[in-house]
């Protein structure tokens, strides 16, 4: 069973960090995974996105026309990737930075003000981890042990931020 994800936002929102952490969590769960950081003209102008495929079998569909999940951390990402969500797929939106509108009726929407939640937590930089926590809840429980390892791998040069991020992840996971 293959599932695919796009995470998108602007530079500095930690898009690639949570993308890489998500890919590591899948890897630690012994799943097949491919992780592509956005590669091309879109890199310019501050937009950042990455694409992740996860499966219990070898992954051969390396590039997808449409994906199961999109996390959009700002309005530009929402506008750009709304059409990339599969029918019955899910659009997870940072409603602090994007309008609550539903241009398609064949997909699911989750609007959460991630930036505000992060500010409440005391650090706007935690926006991304809250979003990852929300995604984890939809996907079913990740092993917390693997989540921790994922953060440790990716944030190995910023160890002081690991616990803070895991707290934010858990906050996202427990929202609603």
């Amino acid at each position: 069973m293959i599932k695919n994800f796009i995470i998108s936002g602007s530079g500095g929102q930690g898009v690639l960090s949570i993308g890489s952490i998500l890919a590591n969590i899948f890897m630690l769960d012994d799943l097949f995974v491919t992780y592509c950081t956005c590669y091309g003209a879109e890199m310019r102008g501050g937009a950042v996105n990455c694409e992740i495929n996860m499966s219990d079998k070898e992954i051969n569909t390396l590039q997808n026309e449409k994906v199961d999940f999109v996390i959009a951390l700002n309005q530009a990402s929402f506008d750009k990737f709304i059409s990339k969500v599969k029918e019955n797929g899910t659009m997870i939106v940072n409603s602090s930075l994007a309008k609550i509108v539903k241009p398609r009726d064949d997909i699911k929407y989750i609007f959460i003000p991630f930036s505000e939640e992060a500010t409440k937590l005391g650090d706007i930089r935690m926006t991304n981890s809250i979003a990852l926590g929300v995604l984890s809840k939809i996907l079913g429980n990740f092993k917390l042990e693997n989540v921790k390892k994922g953060y440790e791998k990716v944030l190995s040069s910023k160890t002081e931020l690991i616990q803070k991020n895991i707290d934010a992840y858990l906050l996202g996971h427990n929202l609603k």
């Binding site: 890919a23 890897m27 491919t34 950081t37 590669y39 051969n60 569909t61």
Partner: protein, 357 residues
């Protein structure tokens, strides 16, 4: 060593190179392969190995040429339009019988093109852009794991045959991360004491040169090189088959495109059609014989490439005359996706054949 790590193809190549004793790297930045040089710049300085930020790709490959004459394991990496600049030195290295490893993480051409992923350098790598009767061994990985494993192999083949070897990597693979295991280098070191330049101490002085004003010696030398290429063709052909035995249709593809081809074959299996995928792992030497053998049973081939038909001519040369070969490809830009290939094959089934989509 056996722990899984999530790595980009570029980093996997750099790590494997260090692991198998690469002591010299010379390079010049170009997207999408720059991470190889960035990674090695830090690690090699730490280990007091040879790393030079060369003034150009021309200088980089010539530094590699000099370094390889000392018997060191030597690598340079670059991309498409800049690999074009290196062709002269590859011809020299082949003539001088010097082992150089060149990693080409392909981008789109012709000319400067762009950093989009592409497979446009099949001809450049396998046919070569240098002068004279020479060959370069070319390996093509299709996963990040293979990027690492084949890095070990290209160093080994370069030393074994004293010949330049190219690792031809799709831009997609250089930039994509997958969980891989960095294994130990499985290949032995090759004794090079009979030819390296390390000072004429207790032996006669040696000279390494391609200039040869004597016509019969030049002819003899070129024939000797040719014999070596025949030996490489006999010994080193490598490929992967995916459900090819008894397949009614075979998709030929190289690099990461072969994986997308597998997903296409899987799709047709659900429709009750018997599709196989044939992937050359060595582009030179090309697995002509095996493909010819398969074409005795399979009559329809689809050659899928992220270019306008470069491996296509080798596939045509390989398969029997009774087979039909359809080409599906497109120039670099957006990567050719599973559903586009399926649509093209469906169109072919319906008799609407176009050479590219």
């Amino acid at each position: 060593m056996s722990e899984k790590v999530l790595l980009k193809g570029n980093i996997a190549i750099a790590k494997a190179a260090l692991n198998c004793g690469c002591s010299c790297y010379f390079g010049y930045p170009i997207t999408p392969q720059t991470e190889i040089g960035e990674y090695l710049s830090a690690k090699m300085q730490e280990k007091k190995l040879a790393y030079v930020c060369a003034e150009s790709e021309v200088a980089a490959i010539n530094m590699a040429l000099g370094a390889s004459s000392t018997g060191a394991k030597v690598m340079t990496s670059s991309s498409s339009c800049a690999v074009a600049l290196m062709q002269e030195a590859l011809s020299y290295a082949a003539s001088d019988e010097l082992p150089i490893v060149l990693v080409n993480v392909m981008r789109a051409g012709p000319g400067q093109g762009y950093i989009f992923p592409s497979q446009g350098d099949y001809n450049q790598a396998t046919v070569g852009g240098g002068n004279g009767d020479y060959k370069t061994i070319v390996l093509s990985p299709s996963s990040v794991q293979e990027c690492a494993d084949m890095t070990y192999k290209v160093f080994y083949l370069a030393q074994k045959y004293r010949n330049p070897v190219i690792l031809l990597v799709d831009g997609l693979l250089g930039q994509m991360a997958e969980p891989i295991t960095i294994k130990d280098n499985p290949y032995p070191n090759i004794d090079n004491s009979s030819w390296i330049l390390n000072g004429a101490k207790n032996r006669a002085s040696r000279k390494i040169h391609s200039l040869e004003p004597n016509p019969s010696i030049l002819e003899e030398r070129t024939l000797k090189l040719h014999q070596k290429y025949l030996e490489i063709e006999k010994n080193e052909v490598d490929w992967e088959e995916y459900n090819c035995e008894n397949a009614d249709y075979i998709i030929t593809a190289f690099g990461s495109m072969a994986r997308i081809a597998k997903s296409v074959a899987d799709y047709y299996k659900t429709k009750g059609l018997n599709f196989g995928v044939f992937r050359p792992k060595t582009l030179y030497p090309f697995p002509y014989d095996r493909l010819r053998e398969l074409s005795k049973k399979t009559k329809i081939f689809f050659d899928v490439e992220m270019n306008l038909g470069q491996m296509h001519k080798d596939v045509c040369q390989a398969v029997s005359q009774n087979s039909q070969i359809f080409f599906i490809g497109k120039p670099a830009g957006e990567w050719l996706k599973q559903d586009e290939i399926i649509k093209a094959i469906d169109n072919i089934f319906e008799g609407q054949y176009a050479t590219s989509i």
